[in-house]
């Protein structure tokens, strides 16, 4: 080694050491300060798991006590003199003495007399009730104190621990929540809520495998627990992603087995999804047949389709004639990037002269995963009163031309939606969306997005009077609701109408405790898109939903998206003035929107 370098390093080391020594002196002083601080500070109260064998022992003790009570000592009959002759009084007395002695030794100072125990238990139950009230008012800290007192009085009730765990969960004290759940489960190993809460705590603590085990246990105990099922699926997705990342990170294949396990699970869930998709497809077909019912004319080969499959434009055209309206309206609802294409042309001789060249573009149903991911464009729809058939015809031509031009000037598509409310009949609010393309201009210009228009992926569809009759009747049970919901699910318009006819306050009656989080999120999105658009009162619905039994658990599992939806609805309600401050805070509380 270079002697100069060596010398430098030796010097550096010495310097290092000196610094270290200096640092140590500072450290000594700091530690002394810290220590005095520590001594001054009060001891924090943290939930501790119970003594390992204590619970088992007490339960055994209780059991053995019961057994003892059951098996009474064999009584000697008063007439059985020979037996009495053999009876050793001294021995019996001795036994009694020893028995009493043993008991007192065993229990030591833990022993509490029965009446005392009864009193303590009553006190604990009282504290629990207090705690439950506080929980209802969301006073978590105070509730924790109540439950802690209850536990102090009577530490062998799983409910106290599980309830306190909920409060800890709410106050983000995850470790304590987990500990309390564990304790509750040691006391009562079939306590579903404790498993659920521990799973929540563990998910948030990042102990996903353990959380999964807990949820699986829940499924084992309560196979119909939908919230946990949903949560389990979510978690499994998460686990599936996580180990993969990890295996990349420290390049271990440790995740292998987990992934394999998960895929099995997923196969099951995906089959479920398949089924639901099938159902959807079926309803889609139904819709299609409905479409075909309304008279359609195909006059040209669908030239548009190949272009749209090039994923440039989707033109959904629907033409409808209303008897009352003198105006003929042609609707072109175009959404670039989306991949389905609708064009329905109602053949009404007055509107559509037979000599006109009409293009019918049939609907294409693509599953969601094949659809384009590009952002949707909004098209502005302007209203035109079609005074003459001729003009109308021209506009259709323009439409086709426009669509044709799309092929060439792909990005210069003008699309627009203008929703106009049209109240015609007593019961039906029919919405008409129309678009007019200037007959003169072949080129269509892009228009800016409209602020209060429909949410992007909702395709607003027109509804003829005929279709509206398809709205299922008002449900009485959750089964009816779900069956009907399945039918209307795919059609936002129908969904809205269906929901509208159900009084919001009836939700608790309909659902009892069968409301699932997926249904809830559907309903929320329908309210958001439908009711807000048509300025219908939405408050009864969200109030009604929040009154459904076990709603608290659902609210716990609500997605961010749903919560945002509720917030929007609430805002709307306030704007509409149908919602008082009290209602508002109540809803915020129930939906946990903070």
């Amino acid at each position: 080694m270079d002697p100069v370098l060596l010398q430098k390093q030796v010097r550096d080391n010495a310097e290092d050491l000196r610094n270290h020594m200096q640092e140590l002196k500072n450290w000594e002083a700091e530690m002394k300060r810290k220590e005095s601080e520590l001594l001054a500070s009060a001891s924090g109260n943290q939930a501790l798991p119970p003594v390992r064998s204590k619970i088992k022992r007490t339960s055994i003790d209780q059991k053995s006590k019961h057994e003892k009570q059951n098996e009474r000592p064999v009584r000697i009959s008063g007439y059985d003199y020979t037996a009495w002759d053999k009876f050793d009084v001294d021995k019996a007395c001795e036994e009694l003495d020893i028995g009493g002695h043993e008991e007192s030794e065993e229990d030591g100072d833990d022993r509490v007399s029965d009446t005392e125990e009864k009193r303590l238990r009553e006190e604990a139950v009282y504290e629990k009730i207090m705690g439950n009230d506080l929980v209802k008012n969301q006073k978590w800290k105070e509730a924790i104190q109540c439950y802690s007192r209850a536990i102090k009085c009577f530490p062998y009730d799983a409910i106290f621990y599980a309830n306190r765990a909920l409060c800890y969960l709410k106050t983000q004290d995850l470790r304590s929540a987990e500990v309390d759940c564990t304790t509750a489960l040691q006391l009562d190993s079939s306590y579903v809520k404790a498993y659920q809460r521990r799973a929540m705590a563990r998910i948030r603590l990042g102990q996903l495998q353990e959380a999964r085990a807990d949820l699986l246990k829940v499924m084992e105990l309560e196979p119909k627990n939908m919230e946990s099922k949903a949560e389990l699926m979510k978690l499994e997705k998460k686990i599936n992603i996580k180990p993969q990342q990890k295996s990349v990170k420290d390049s271990s294949s440790g995740a292998c087995s987990i992934v394999i396990q998960q895929t099995e699970k997923q196969a099951q869930t995906s089959s479920v999804i398949f089924e639901s998709e099938k159902v959807e497809e079926e309803t889609g077909k139904q819709n299609e047949s409905e479409w075909s019912c309304s008279k359609q004319i195909i006059k040209e080969k669908n030239k548009l389709i190949p272009r749209t499959s090039g994923k440039k434009t989707i033109v959904a055209t629907e033409i409808e004639k209303k008897a009352k309206c003198s105006s003929n309206q042609e609707i072109v609802d175009g959404q670039s990037g989306e991949s389905w294409l609708l064009q329905n042309i109602a053949s009404q001789e007055q509107i559509w002269p037979t000599h006109g060249q009409v293009t019918l573009v049939q609907s294409i149903h693509k599953p969601p995963h094949l659809r384009s991911k590009k952002a949707l464009k909004r098209i502005e729809i302007r209203e035109v009163d079609n005074t003459s058939n001729h003009e109308c015809e021209e506009s259709t031509k323009a439409c086709t031309n426009g669509a044709a031009s799309v092929g060439n000037e792909s990005n210069q598509i003008a699309l627009g939606i203008d929703a106009r409310e049209h109240k015609s009949d007593k019961e039906q609010t029919l919405e008409e969306i129309c678009e007019v393309i200037d007959a003169e201009s072949n080129k269509i210009k892009p228009v800016p997005e409209k602020a209060n228009s429909v949410s992007q992926n909702t395709v607003t569809e027109l509804l003829s009077g005929k279709e509206s009759e398809e709205v299922p009747p008002i449900p009485k049970t959750s089964v009816q609701f779900l069956a009907a919901w399945k039918k209307v699910r795919t059609n936002p318009r129908l969904r809205y109408l269906y929901l509208k006819q159900i009084p919001g306050a009836d939700f608790p009656k309909i659902f009892h405790d069968c409301l699932e989080s997926s249904t809830l999120s559907d309903i929320i999105s329908t309210i958001k898109t439908g009711f807000l658009q048509f300025k219908e009162p939405a408050l009864p619905y969200i109030m009604g939903l929040s009154n459904v039994r076990r709603f608290g658990a659902l609210a716990m599992f609500m997605s961010q998206n749903d919560k945002a939806g509720i917030k929007e609805i609430l805002k709307y309600c306030k704007e509409q003035g149908e919602c008082s401050e009290e209602d508002c805070t109540d809803i915020v509380k129930k939906y946990e929107l903070y």
Binding site: M21, W27, S41, G44, V51, S53, T182, S252, C256, S257
Partner: protein, 363 residues
């Protein structure tokens, strides 16, 4: 010269046989446990003051103390749990040592080893103390339960009782999971799962096991180091278990890859992981040497065998530094939890040493 240096910062000669030393958490003080020549037990509290070791308090009891831990006590309390030559487990409040605050006749013979958990790391389960004794049993204690262990692991009646030399807690990453590992004089290492109350795994390393430690107690178990007589120590990757076929205990049996290293040319008494960096650990040998090691993970920690079962893959250990501190064996060493690179060690030449290891932050 880029390597960390091991420097003796302060030395203090005593008249005691020193067995164990522990830093008092959150302070510049430490306790040493030992015995006086006449056989009485001593707990001494020392403080580092301006680079000097000063005796703060001396407590003398009738029986010699073998080992102690602060692991099961909270930072506020800082109660010391000790095991003595008589087999008694005591917990002391060092402010008032007239009587122990907890006492149990834990074993019939000397308690060789003690470990505590659940005090400082909040949310990782109940505070518990494990003791290993010459009578062959390993017992787990909860300071809240008087007089009785919460779990006992001992050979069945009539089986040979091996001297238990080392015990350690691990895997306590939530309120349920917990593992106790014990090492015996015949080279057995046994791993007990306290959650399921079962023997999870056992192996034999041929030589008596003097020291066992998990790299961290409060994480899901990652690595474990066992030191033995005849200058070998074993590093186990305890992250991945491999179920071995064709044995009675097929689901419980694990094969853990290990690395054997020969360094001290004599018994390795103790292994201690650095609290600030779990890949670095020190082993202290019979000849008064201290070795500093670093464990390097392999590129892949897990691989599948032909049956698709996972097994762990070992990395390597590299010797960072070795230093001879005394002529007699080093009986114990404890890294300061509050100051990286500082440790106290006791040796059989009746001397307490504060050592400093530099450049640990650059590793």
């Amino acid at each position: 010269m880029e390597k960390p240096q091991v420097i003796t910062y302060a030395e203090k000669s005593t008249s005691l046989s020193l067995f164990d030393c522990r830093w008092i958490p959150c302070s510049a003080k430490f306790v040493v446990l030992g015995s006086k020549p006449r056989g009485t037990g001593v707990i001494n509290v020392y403080e580092i003051n301006e680079g000097d070791i000063q005796l703060v308090k001396e407590v003398e009891k009738t029986k010699a103390f073998k080992c102690g831990t602060y692991g099961a006590s909270s930072l506020q309390d800082r109660y010391l749990a000790t095991g003595d030559f008589e087999g008694k487990l005591n917990i002391w409040n060092l402010e008032d040592t007239t009587a122990p605050i907890y006492s149990a006749a834990a074993h019939k013979e000397i308690i060789n080893s003690i470990d505590g958990i659940g005090g400082q790391n909040i949310g990782c389960g109940a505070p518990e103390i494990v003791t290993g004794s010459r009578d062959g049993s390993v017992k787990v204690w909860d300071p809240r339960q008087k007089g009785k262990p919460v779990a006992t692991m001992e050979p069945a009646e009539g089986d040979a009782r091996r001297d238990c030399w080392a015990v350690a807690f691990g895997n306590s990453y939530n309120s349920e999971e917990r593992i106790v590992c014990s090492g015996y004089d015949n080279g057995d290492i046994k791993m007990f799962d306290l959650k399921t109350m079962s023997l999870r795994w056992e192996t034999n390393v041929k030589n008596g096991v003097c020291g066992i430690e998990f790299d961290r107690r409060d994480i899901s178990m990652n690595k474990m180091v066992a030191t033995t007589l005849e200058s070998k120590f074993y590093v186990f990757d305890v992250r991945t278990q491999h179920p071995k076929k064709g044995f009675a205990y097929l689901t419980e049996k694990v094969i853990v890859e290990f690395v054997t290293l020969q360094a001290h040319k004599s018994t390795i008494w103790v292994v201690r992981h650095l609290p600030q960096n779990r890949e670095i650990f020190a082993t202290c040998g019979g000849a008064g040497t201290l070795c500093l090691w670093k464990y390097n993970y392999p590129a892949r920690r897990v691989m599948c065998d032909t049956d698709g079962n996972e097994m762990g893959v070992m990395g390597t250990t590299s010797l960072l530094q070795n230093a001879t501190l005394s002529t007699q064996p080093i009986s114990n060493l404890d890294w300061s939890p509050d100051k990286q690179g500082m440790a106290v060690c006791t040796s059989f030449d009746q001397t307490i040493r504060i050592i400093i290891v530099t450049k640990l932050n650059t590793l």
